[in-house]
Structure formats: C-alpha cells, structure tokens
C-alpha cells in the first residue's frame, strides 16, 4: 500500500479539484449582494456574467424555508375536465345533427349521473338513427357507445380519450401556470407534476400567496387580433436603433393579390429597448406587439414586431379546444384544429368573413405566437390552422403540437383547487438561515474538538475526511442544481455525525491491534480490513432509511433524504479511502507507536 500512496494522494487531490470546480458557482451565488441576487434570480442568463468561463452554471438553490416564499400544491379536477368534454361533444352532436337534417328529439349531456361523462341522444325515427350510424358515427371517435335502447343511444367519453385527457390536462395546466408565472417576474420558480393529478408550484421570494393564487387561477390572456399589413409607418421611422433591421416579407392573398408583411427584426436582449423606442411612434388605432422568430440551434434568438389593429376581436375565453390533426387527402399537411364556444363561433364567423385574405395574430400573454392567413370565412366554430412553410413533416408536426399547446394554454383545462400552501416570510427565512449557520458551526466544532482530543492524529485525519465529506456533498448538490432546505442542512450535519462512525471504528480497531503488539503499518492494515464490514453495514442501513424517505417523502423531507443519501456515498469515499491515504502518509516510515 505504501508505494501507491502518492498516486492515491494525486487521485484525492484530483477529486478535491473536481469538487471545487462544481462548488464555484454556489460560492459565487452566495457572495452576491442583495441587488445582484434579485437581478440574477429574475434572469437566469445574467448569472453567467458573474461566473468565470470555466465554471459550470448550476448552483445550490436555497429552499423556501431559507429565503422565504410560497409553496403551493394544486389539484387538477380531472373529472370536471372529462365532464366538460362530454358536454362539448353533446353540443357538437346537436349542431351536426341539425346541419345534416337528421331528426332527433333530444340530445343531452348527463351531467349529474355518475362522473358526468355520458351523453344520450334520442332519434325521431329508425331511419334517422340509421343515417346517423352511416354518416356521422365515424366522426365521433371520442365516444364509446354504452347502450342502445330503441331509438335512444347512450355514449360515454372513450376510455382512450379519458386517459389522454388525464395526462394532457395536467401538462396543460403546468404550461399555463408556467406562462403566467413568467409574467410575474418571480425568482427561479419551480412548477412540477406531483403524482397523477397534482401540480406543485414554488415561488421563492414571493410574499403574498393570495396574489399568487389569484394570478394562477385566472384565465390566461389569449387574444386574437388582426394584423395590419397596409400601414407602412415603419419605413418612415427616424433614428431606428442600430440593432434593429427592417424586413419585408411578401405573401399572396387567396384573391391573388400580393401583400407585404413589414416588421423590425432585433435580438432578444434588446426587447426592452425596442419597446422604449417605439413608445409614441405607433399610429393610433394600431398597437405593436412582439413575437419570437424561429431560430436554428446556435443562432442568436431574434424577435420581430407585429403591427396589429388595437381592437381585440376574440379572447381565449371563447376557445374551448385545440388539437393537432395529421391531415387528410385534401389537406396532407398537419394542422391544428381549434374549436370555439357558441359565442366564439359567432364572433369568429363575423371576424373571418370580414377579413378573408388578411392575417390574424394569435397573442398569448401579450406575446405574438403566430399570425396565420385567413383563407376563407369560418362560421362553423371550428377552424384549422395549417402549418405552412417549406419544412419537413416532422418539423411541422412539432410546430403544430407547440401551437396547440399554446392555444390550449389560453384556458385552464380543468378547475384547480388549492390543496396545500406554505408561505414563509422573508424575515423568518433569514432567521432560519442564521440558525442553520450557527448550528452547523457549533456541531462541527464539537465533533472536531472531540475527535482530535480523543484520537489525536487519527482524529485529525478524521476531521480532514469529514471536511472533505461536506465539500463533496455540497459540490454534488451544487452540480445537480439541488435545493437546500433546513432539514437538508440537518441531514448534512447528521451525515457528518454518523459518518465519523466509520472513523471511530477504524481508530478503535487500530488501537486494538497496537495493544496486541503490532507495528504501526500492520496495525493500520489490520484495522482497516476488519472494520470494513461493520462500516459497510452501518452505511447500508442508513442508506436504506434514506432511500425509503426519499421515495415516500416530498419537499423538505425529500431534501433531507437527498443529503443523507449523497452523504452516505461520500462518507464511504472520504471515510475509508481518503483517511487510508492520510494514514499511509503518516506512517511512511514504519514505527511502533501511533498517536491515535
């Protein structure tokens, strides 16, 4: 073992270097003053400028109980989402039957029966029923027939659709909430799925839960506004900033005429500047909104202006569904099919009739998502947005999915209930952080003091090992971008306290061997080999407990479990491998006694 000591020392030095590298961002993060911290939290890209180029970006995120903030768990009422679906299908069925002149006496959504996912239609005659079966039944793939009783047919929402609604609803809710929270300028928000039908939202630094609840619970701003492609005021602007370039893009209207889409293109960082510049320059009756341009990987992200008519023709309140459709023989490209409420149907019909050939902007939370051309009047309450452009089919499908999600994000798919809320005031957070610091200092001081007093050099070696242990755990957490809560810190301290068990075992064994008369080298050797099995056992049982906690716990408890688990692995490395290296260094020259 002796001859490899230097190599092993090198390995250890390398690991320390690695840990240092992983920890750098966290050290820098916690050194920022208040002003800088706020800036960095609102814009994650800003953190980069404080980092040296060789450091990684992720850092430890202080938990809510340390920095204050709001933690919420929302439940998504999936049953209502399914019931709503059944209701909309019943409306659709009624409209279709009327249009195709199939006689019926009633079409009802059975809202109060069971889960409310059933609907029932009674036809006027057997011929009517037969016509329905022949012509319309195929179009209702989202229904599964439950029973037929003479002229009455009962359906429920197809189980496949139910499953899809369940997953979609939660994902959609998450996306919607993310959009809304983006607008709140919250620091490093975290929105995650929890279980099958819950969403967990964490807003650090946000002090007012009622405000957060209100913002999250409302309908998002989805607006439809007509584009103005006639005005050319953009060409007459003076002092256009240097970062913006004027672009024009021609397109052909369905009546054959050509039209110009004129806009200013600029890099993303200059959005604020662009807004400032255009204040007061937009003619009345028009309004300027902004949207992202498609970017290829590696390119800088660019945005563009959209000149829109000020009037909001339609909002997301009137949209009830958006879905991707793969295309039909007539229309082979993928498209997004959208469905309006009865009010929306009327408004949309009016809008499209008046504006055939013009472009209509879809604006979500004040950002323009896209501006497709209206090809024909749409009075049926359903419209399709074709993915135009010369892209591959896969790209178009991806864009279609994205658009459908954006459109659906305009409306929360199902009512949400607030299941859990924890708010920690900032002052309490600061106190907690303080307390954690003091506790750590005292605990570590006591442990180190005792070890050095009792085991002398062996103790000193243990202290080195434990310091390294802490560094490794924090470095791992930092690199993973993990959160650190008060229980997490407790878990870290506990790992220290329990990890030194390994060192105690080793030191005690070495003492025994020395008492038996062995020389230093063989004592160390024997000490390590006999202690190893007991060390492994103790770490394994702690690991099992930590694993179970991690699996069943959530939030702060999970954090405790995480630090415990990482700590176990790290303490095996530091407690056994590292201390051995140090011991070997200590006894480079063999001797008879050891100051242990």
């Amino acid at each position: 073992m002796q001859n490899t000591v230097w190599i092993r020392l090198l390995i250890v030095a390398g690991l320390i270097g690695l840990a240092g590298w992983m920890l750098t961002p966290s050290i820098i993060y916690f050194q920022l003053d208040e002003q800088q911290t706020i800036e960095v939290q609102q814009d994650s890209a800003a953190f980069k400028k404080y980092l040296p180029s060789w450091a990684p970006e992720s850092h430890i995120v202080p938990g809510l109980d340390l920095q204050g903030g709001v933690h919420m768990v929302l439940g998504v009422d999936l049953d209502k989402a399914i019931s709503d679906r059944a209701r909309r299908v019943s409306n659709r069925l009624r409209t279709d039957l009327e249009e195709k002149k199939i006689a019926f006496t009633a079409v009802d959504h059975l809202a109060d029966a069971g889960k409310g996912d059933r609907l029932r239609a009674t036809f006027a005659s057997t011929e009517a029923l037969a016509t329905f079966d022949k012509d319309l039944a195929d179009l209702y793939g989202d229904l599964a027939e439950v029973g037929r009783d003479g002229l009455t047919v009962t359906w429920r929402v197809h189980p496949d659709w139910v499953a899809k609604i369940r997953t979609d609803a939660v994902d959609q809710t998450i996306k919607t909430i993310s959009n809304r929270i983006d607008k709140m300028h919250v620091t490093e928000p975290s929105i995650t799925k929890r279980g099958a039908d819950q969403v967990q939202v964490q807003l650090p630094g946000f002090a007012n839960p009622e405000e957060a609840k209100a913002l999250i619970g409302r309908t998002a701003q989805l607006e439809f506004q007509m584009c103005d492609d006639e005005s050319d005021f953009l060409t007459r602007l003076a002092d256009v900033p240097s970062f913006a370039t004027l672009q024009t893009s021609g397109y052909q209207r369905s009546n054959g005429a050509f039209a110009q889409d004129m806009y200013l293109e600029f890099p993303e960082e200059q959005l604020k500047e662009m807004r400032k510049y255009l204040i007061g320059k937009v003619p009345s009756g028009l309004v300027m909104k902004y949207g992202r341009l498609p970017t290829r990987p590696g390119e800088t992200v660019k945005w563009r202006t959209y000149t829109l008519k000020a009037e909001v023709a339609l909002t997301g309140d009137d949209l009830v569904n958006a879905q991707v459709a793969m295309g039909s023989p007539e229309q082979p490209q993928p498209y997004v099919s959208i469905e309006f409420s009865p009010t929306g149907k009327q408004l949309f019909g009016d809008l499209t009739t008046k504006n055939v050939g013009k472009r209509m902007a879809i604006v979500l939370e004040d950002v323009v998502d896209s501006a497709p051309v209206i090809n024909e009047p749409i009075t049926g309450g359903m419209a399709s947005i074709t993915m135009g452009g010369s892209r591959t089919r896969d790209e178009m499908i991806k864009d279609a999915n994205q658009l459908a999600l954006v459109l659906k994000a305009g409306a929360l798919p199902a009512p949400i209930t607030f299941r859990e809320e924890k708010t920690v005031g900032a002052s309490l957070g600061k106190e907690a952080l303080d307390a954690a610091g003091k506790a750590s200092l005292l605990g570590i001081a006591l442990v180190f003091g005792f070890l050095i007093f009792y085991y002398r050099v062996g103790g000193l070696i243990s202290c080195f090992a434990m310091t390294l242990n802490m560094v490794f755990v924090l470095a791992s957490l930092s690199w993973l971008g993990g959160t650190l809560t008060l229980p997490g810190i407790a878990g870290l301290l506990l790992t220290i306290g329990m990890a030194d068990d390994a060192n105690v075992l080793i030191n005690e064994r070495i003492r025994e061997e020395l008492r038996a008369g062995k020389t230093a080298r063989s004592a160390v050797e024997a000490g390590y080999s006999s202690a190893l099995s007991a060390i492994l056992d103790s770490q394994i049982t702690t690991f099992i407990a930590g694993l179970v906690l991690w699996q069943f716990g959530s939030g702060a408890i999970q954090n405790f479990a995480t630090t415990l688990l990482i700590g176990v692995i790290s303490s095996l490395v530091t407690g056994v491998y590292f201390t051995r290296v140090l011991f070997d260094l200590y006894i480079l020259k063999d001797r008879d006694t050891l100051a242990v």
Partner: protein
C-alpha cells in the same frame, strides 16, 4: 517496543456485566414499549398540520397579547375551533394559530347567500353548489335570461348578473369575496372573484371565490390587536393530510420490512430476532416521547423515526458482528456464551459511546439554535439515539441469548456410543 498510550474515557478495557444488567433493562424496555402502545390510541398523538389538515399561521404581534384574547378574536371572526399556542421566547410575541376549517364557507354562510340570491333572482335562482372539495369556492347556478339566439346580448346580460351577484354576496350576505392585491397596493374589484361557465341546457354556473382563511384570520386579528406580521402560513387540505398520513405509515412499514430482510440475510436465526426487537423498540419509545411530551408529529417526525431505525440497527449489527467474530468453535452452552457476549459488548463499548456522542453533538447543536418543527426533529433524534444505544448495548444481546437458550439444541456427542456407521462397517 514502546508502550502505546491512548486517550481513553476508561482506564483499561472495560469489563461491565452487560448481560446481567441487560435482563433488567430489557424488561423495563418492554414495559415502556407496551405502555406506549397502549397510550397512543388512548392519549393520541399531537398531529401536526401535515397530518391533521387545516390552516396554521405563525404571527408576530407588536405588543404582548394573551392567549384567551386571541381565541376570542378568532371566534368573533367565525372560527369556533382554534388552537393557539405561544412560540419561542415570550418576549418575541410570536404565536402559532391553528384553525380547523380550511374553507370560509360554512352552513350559516351558505344559508345567508342562498337567501339573498333567492330574493334577488327569484325564479331564476336554481341552487348553490357547495362541497368540501371546493373549499372556499361556491357554485351559483342561475337560469339563463332571455333566449339563446342573440349570444352577444345574452353575454351582456350575464355580465350584469355577475356584478349583481358580487354586490349581493358582499353587502346583503355579508361575506367577503377574494380580492387580489396588485403590487402598487390597489385591490381588484369584487367581480373578479367570480368566474362564469358556459350556458348549458338553460342554466349557467357562476363560480364564486370567497376570501381565503388566512386573509380572514388576518383581518380579524388586525382589527383587534393592531399591526402584526404573518411570518408563516401553512395550509393543508384534508385530503392531502390523509394521503400524507398513509404515505408516512407506508414509509415506516417499508423501511422496517427492508431492514428485516436485510437482517435475515445478514444474520442467522438467533441474532435476527434480537436485532428486530431492539430495532422495533426504539421508534416505539420515540413515539412515546411524542405522545407524552405532546410534541407535534409531522412529516419531519417520520423522517426522525426512520433515521432512528437506521441508527438503531447499526448499533446492534456492530455488536453482533463482534460476537460472531469472537465466538469460539464447537457446540457451546448458553453459560459458555455469556462471557463471550459480555466481552464483545465491552470491546465495542468505546465505539458505541463515541459514535452516539459525536452524533449527539450535531443534533444538540441543531436543537439549541433552531425553533419549531426542526427543533422538535432534532430533540426527538437526540432522544432516539440515546435510546438506540441503550437498546443495542443491553436489549440486543439479552434477546439473542434468550432465543438461543430456548430454541437451540446443540448436537450431543456421547463417547462410545454405537453408531449406525459402525454397524454397517461391520465393526459391531
């Protein structure tokens, strides 16, 4: 060879009679565990909000306040059942206020709203939709005015209805609707608290959001006691509390099962029961600490229990390892084994003490400087570690010897007996 000198807490190798004392301690331990098992259903645990559900506020007043005054203020605000207790140092004026109802809509409120709506809308008022799930949200179902042909006019009429609804609820029924406070301090209008569904089959549903509980408690306290700071609010829905409870129980069962399997693999039939008894004994006593000390039992407590279990098994394994290692070969009677066991425990005594000492350093440090849930966590852990060490030193070996004594029959070798082999070989 020079004589090695060590720093030790004990003069030479110790020679305590762990087994002798162990019997007494095991009996005491069993008794305590039994008492705890009986006490828990009778006295009950002090469930934290994670498991009981409800809303809990940590408030800090500007001046000294008495508990009965706070309870009275809450009752005035409509919360009959509440728990009030001081938090931290008495000079801090901090209190923990827990109210059971998580929604502000009770039967009385429902009635007053129903009455007001019935008067205003007459025939058009169908019913109120209230359920525990919806918390402080209520559905008001009205018949749709006019015909559904002119959709735009209908929507305008429903908008007017919505405003009327808000006014009625606030002014006539006297229930505050939720308001949003903007960054600049202005509050939203009441109509924003109401959201409308699609008209369907002749009726339309308005979802009305009432003032939140924290808000209501806050306003009540502010009216009576002046300015105060809300330092923390925790709200857990009853359903979530239930699932947290079952998750906690499952976690404990899983961990214990995993440990049992691990022990079965690691040790033979006589060691395993001893380890199991010692391991089960510790979290039980810890639960006793919770029950008798009325310490709040929340999810952190589950973490504490699991950690104690892990630690406990540890301690027992180290001792058992040593026993196995130093056990002489050949069949042994129980009397022969007692000194072996004793020596094993003595040999590892230094380790047992040192480990619990260093671990206690960290948990006591946390307990000293922190408050509230994490402090309870540290206190229980500290107690658990001490108990765990005692059970590993005394209960583990005793139970092992007990099982061995009563279930182990060593092979009996009698000299000179005629064996079957002999007969077959033709010796005899």
């Amino acid at each position: 060879m020079t004589e090695q000198k060590f720093v030790t807490l004990f003069d030479r190798k110790t020679d305590y009679d762990f087994v002798g004392v162990g019997r007494t301690i095991t009996k005491i331990g069993m008794a305590l565990a039994a008492v705890t098992l009986l006490a828990i259903p009778v006295i009950g645990l002090n469930w934290g909000i994670d498991f009981a559900g409800g809303t809990e506020l940590q408030v800090k007043f500007d001046k000294t306040v008495e508990a009965p005054a706070i309870t009275a203020s809450l009752q005035k605000a409509g919360f009959e059942k509440s728990q009030v207790q001081p938090y931290g140092a008495s000079s801090a004026n901090e209190w923990l206020v827990r109210v059971e109802r998580i929604a502000t809509v009770g039967a009385t409120e429902r009635d007053s709203v129903g009455k007001a709506l019935g008067e205003a809308f007459g025939d058009r008022f169908v019913r109120l939709d209230v359920s525990d799930d919806k918390g402080d949200r209520v559905g008001v179902i009205l018949k749709v005015p006019g015909s559904s042909d002119d959709v735009v006019a209908q929507q305008a009429a429903l908008d007017a209805d919505q405003k009327l609804l808000a006014e009625l609820i606030e002014n006539k029924a006297g229930i505050r609707l939720r308001r949003t406070r903007q960054v600049d301090g202005t509050e939203s209008t009441t109509a924003d608290a109401i959201v409308r569904d699609e008209p369907h089959q002749g009726t339309v549903t308005f979802l009305v959001q009432f003032q939140g509980v924290a808000d209501k408690v806050g306003k009540g306290l502010e009216a009576d006691f002046g300015r105060f700071e809300i330092r923390r609010v925790d709200f857990v829905d009853a359903r979530v509390a239930e699932s947290l409870r079952s998750q906690g129980v499952m976690a404990l069962i899983f961990a214990l099962a995993a440990i049992v399997i691990y022990l079965a693999v690691r040790f033979d039939a006589f060691f395993a029961p001893g380890a199991l008894v010692a391991t089960l004994h510790d979290p039980l006593i810890a639960l006793g600490v919770f029950t008798f000390g009325r310490i709040e039992f929340d999810t952190a407590s589950i973490a504490a229990l699991l950690t104690i279990v892990g630690y406990s098994v540890n301690g027992v394994i180290v001792i058992y390892d040593r026993i196995r290692e130093t056990m002489p070969a050949g069949p042994l009677s129980n009397e022969d084994l007692i000194p072996v066991v004793n020596k094993a425990v003595n040999d590892t005594f230094a380790r047992s003490i040192n480990t619990v000492l260093t671990t206690l350093f960290t948990t006591v440090a946390v307990a000293v400087f922190t408050d509230g849930s994490i402090r309870n966590f540290a206190v229980v852990l500290s107690a658990g570690f001490v108990i765990g060490t005692i059970s590993a030193l005394f209960i583990g070996p005793t139970v092992y010897l007990f099982f061995r004594k009563n279930f182990y029959t060593p092979e009996v070798v009698v000299d000179g007996a005629i064996t079957r082999e002999d007969t077959e070989r033709g010796v005899v």
